[in-house]
């Protein structure tokens, strides 16, 4: 290896790739070459740094200087000033409130995080197995195969207290134990990389930024339960992740970490990457296996559980990407170290994809039990534009909301269940005063309606009826009885559906009903949407103070609802108005408003 005096790390995650990071890398390479620096300074494409809101992100080591929202045009200046003259380009540095931070480790966004599952993301080049190895990679596998019995591996995982990060929170060690005691000879190890929650991207970032950690952990799991074949089921919508996984599998085979007789231990293991095809229900474990088998991804009743009868009818374990990413760390650092973090029965850390009305959109990894307030205010930087925090939604379409009054709730499995939400797979969407909770409930319900596999009727028909009621409410046709019927239906669907999709589909509705019932009532009784979102409940009006009588709106109204003479305040006839919004856009004086 050549020793470089500096490294330029450019984020190659999906978010930054969308904002042209590959072009930035190419530009760096050509500018460095132009200046004769190509041998001294290395450009590395890494995984996601986490602070997606400020992408594309470029970090320069050894100093750790952190440049944000870098454009292709900025590259020339960074090379000329920073690389040649050693002068940091101030204007591109990250500004947290008033202070400018040079190094990413100085920012609140990073200081308050503990990165275990994301330890290598944004640190190593995910396409280079040597970098993974340099950061303790494949050490855990070597240790397991040469020093531990399979049972000892399971005991260590159990001792760490690790629970599944895919949503259900089942103890990982116990799951492995169930499969280990089953008779072979054939068993399978599967990885759930289907990441169905529509606002979450933790698993994708791990796959893009540190694919080998997942491969290593699956191989360890194979050794522990006595399996020699693994499958990764990954969303086809994640092309970068798929490509890096495939590359990682190849490299790992080349180095002998996959294949026959790994580390001369006599243990064989290989991994196949399978692509999903865009069905949310395939994230459910039995549906996922049916899909790998090559069928419509419909869930099967349990029992039998996959540990007994899973993929192709043999004992199988399925774990989530993030669950696996923790395993090598646990085995290298010891289960006690992992169990020190977290609270109560929720050990270790959890990665959340922070999105919505929050300043620092991105990935954050925090010890379990961290209060929501710390995530929203300190790490996330609060709601933008000085708006008021209203609620956070966790667990996506299977989860619930946490209202502002409960912002001090610790983020762990038990506390979240107590308030009617879930940790879920890690989506954390922030909403401010401009979001209508009825509309949000409707948004989340559209998922199960679209994605129900149709196998059982409570889910297939029940969710559709629920959506119809919500549509009635948001269009101003709802009654108080509708709210009661809705609640009753929710409980019916929850209790009678076959799989987790149907069983959890009513959660967003139930939890918004629990904390924001007054908003539902405002929709049906006062026929008003307090947040001003539901179009049918808004009326367009003209402010006579601001209206200059230019007649522009009247000329643009498609239904002739606006009357008034030149230079006189105009008026909208509410009975004629179809709420198209054309007038608001045309008015140059901001005189038209909706409320």
């Amino acid at each position: 290896m050549n020793f470089a005096r500096a490294h330029i790390l450019v984020c190659g995650g999906t978010g930054c790739t969308s904002s042209k990071s590959p072009e930035i890398i190419a530009e760096f390479e050509s500018r460095l070459k132009e200046n004769g620096l190509a041998d001294e300074i290395k450009v590395v494409q890494t995984g996601c740094f986490g602070l997606c809101a400020l992408g594309p992100i470029v970090v320069v080591y050894p100093e750790g200087i952190y440049y944000c929202q870098v454009k292709v045009e900025d590259v020339e200046e960074i090379v000329r000033e920073h690389m040649l003259k050693g002068r940091v380009v101030e204007r591109l540095l990250y500004k947290e409130s008033e202070e400018v931070s040079e190094s990413l480790n100085d920012t609140d966004f990073y200081k308050k995080q503990t990165r275990i599952a994301l330890r290598n993301c944004g640190v190593i080049d995910p396409e280079n197995i040597d970098e993974y190895i340099a950061y303790d990679g494949y050490q855990a596998l070597a240790k397991c195969l040469t020093e531990y019995t399979p049972q000892q591996v399971i005991d260590l995982v159990s001792a760490s207290g690790l629970r599944g990060r895919g949503g259900a929170g089942f103890p990982t060690g116990r799951k492995w134990q169930f499969a280990a005691v089953e008779k072979g000879p054939v068993k399978y190890v599967c990885c759930n990389a289907d990441e169905g929650d529509p606002g979450a991207f933790m698993d994708r970032s791990v796959l893009e930024g540190d694919p080998h950690s997942v491969l290593e952990a699956m191989t360890i799991a194979g050794y522990a339960i006595g399996s020699s074949q693994g499958y990764i089921y990954v969303r086809a919508e994640y092309p970068i992740a798929v490509q890096r996984l495939k590359k990682a599998v190849e490299q790992s085979r080349e180095y002998g970490f996959l294949g026959k007789n790994i580390f001369d231990s006599g243990f064989d293991f290989d991994i196949d990457v399978r692509l999903g095809a865009g069905a949310f229900v395939c994230g459910e474990e039995t549906a996922l296996m049916t899909s790998i088998e090559g069928h419509r991804g419909e869930p099967r009743p349990r029992p039998p559980f996959p540990a007994v009868k899973g993929l192709f009818g043999v004992p199988t374990i399925l774990n989530n990407v993030e669950t696996y990413a923790n395993i090598p760390w646990i085995l290298v650092h010891g289960p006690e170290k992992f169990a020190e973090m977290g609270s109560g029965a929720s050990k270790g850390t959890k990665v959340f994809a922070l999105g919505g009305k929050i300043k620092n959109t991105g990935l954050v990894e925090i010890p379990m039990g961290t209060p929501l307030r710390q995530v929203i205010e300190d790490i996330g930087g609060g709601c933008p534009n000085g708006k008021k925090f209203k609620a956070a939604q966790t667990g996506g379409p299977s989860g619930g909301c946490i209202p502002a009054s409960l912002i001090d709730t610790p983020l762990d499995y038990e506390s979240m269940a107590a308030i009617g939400s879930i940790i879920g797979s890690g989506g954390l969407i922030v909403m401010d005063e401009d979001n209508c909770m009825v509309d949000i409930a409707k948004f989340f319900l559209e998922f199960p309606v679209d994605e129900s596999c149709g196998k059982c009727s409570p889910c297939r028909i029940g969710t559709r009826r629920m959506l119809e009621i919500l549509n009635k409410i948001t269009s101003g046709q709802g009654t108080l009885e509708d709210i009661d019927t809705l609640e009753e239906l929710c409980n019916h669907v929850k209790n009678n559906s076959l799989c987790g999709l149907g069983q959890t589909a009513p959660n967003p509705v139930l939890s918004t009903l629990r904390y924001f019932r007054d908003e539902y009532i405002a929709h049906v009784v006062d026929k008003k949407c307090p947040a001003g979102v539901c179009k049918a409940l808004l009326n367009y009006s003209i402010d006579p103070e601001k209206c200059k009588g230019c007649t522009l709106c009247a000329r643009n109204c498609p239904v002739g609802a606006i009357t008034g003479s030149v230079r006189q305040p105009h008026e909208i006839d509410k009975s004629k108005c179809i709420k198209c919004g054309a007038c608001i856009e045309k008015c140059k004086f901001d005189a038209i408003y909706k409320a």
Binding site: L51, D197, G278, H295, G297
Partner: protein
């Protein structure tokens, strides 16, 4: 609108068919190879009309009803071709709370084409997608692979006009 019927006539070439058949020969004996084969077919033809489903059924021995069942179950398989210009608006949660619903409405209005369908001349197709992974740029619209982030509804027309 439902993805159950093909509406345009088939124009596959013998080369495409040969490529598909070769792939099927190589993979059909692996366990669970139906999905990878259909994904390959979708990649070769861009969609899965009846003619292609018949080739797959015949070459793999899997009943046509089952192939059709799979093709209509998964959102990635399309029974109709996409437009020359593919517009998608992300309706993932992060984008939705930041107003991507209004962005989609503008796209639909501008092109006169509902989400999940294609304009009469075959030029544009519109899709509403789930999180595309660029939540930091929410709301997000993608036109032929080009990502437009932090977009406001009244910027939609100008962007689409570039492709008209």
């Amino acid at each position: 609108m439902p993805n159950t019927k093909t509406l345009v006539s088939f124009r596959g070439t013998p080369e495409q068919e040969a490529e598909l058949r070769k792939f099927i020969e190589q993979t059909k004996d692996e366990p669970g190879s139906t999905m990878p084969i259909m994904q390959k077919a979708q990649e070769i033809y861009g969609y899965l009309p009846e003619e292609v489903q018949i080739i797959i059924a015949e070459a793999t021995g899997v009943p046509l009803t089952e192939i059709y069942g799979i093709a209509t179950f998964y959102a990635q398989f399309s029974l109709n071709p996409k437009g020359e210009i593919q517009v998608s608006v992300c309706l993932g949660t992060a984008c939705y709370v930041k107003g991507s619903g209004d962005v989609l409405e503008r796209v639909v209005k501008k092109l006169g084409c509902e989400a999940g369908s294609i304009t009469a001349d075959g030029r544009f197709s519109v899709d509403a997608t789930r999180c595309v992974g660029a939540c930091g740029l929410a709301p997000v619209m993608i036109v032929n692979g080009e990502v437009y982030g932090r977009i406001k509804p009244d910027e939609v027309d100008a962007i689409l006009e570039k492709y008209m």
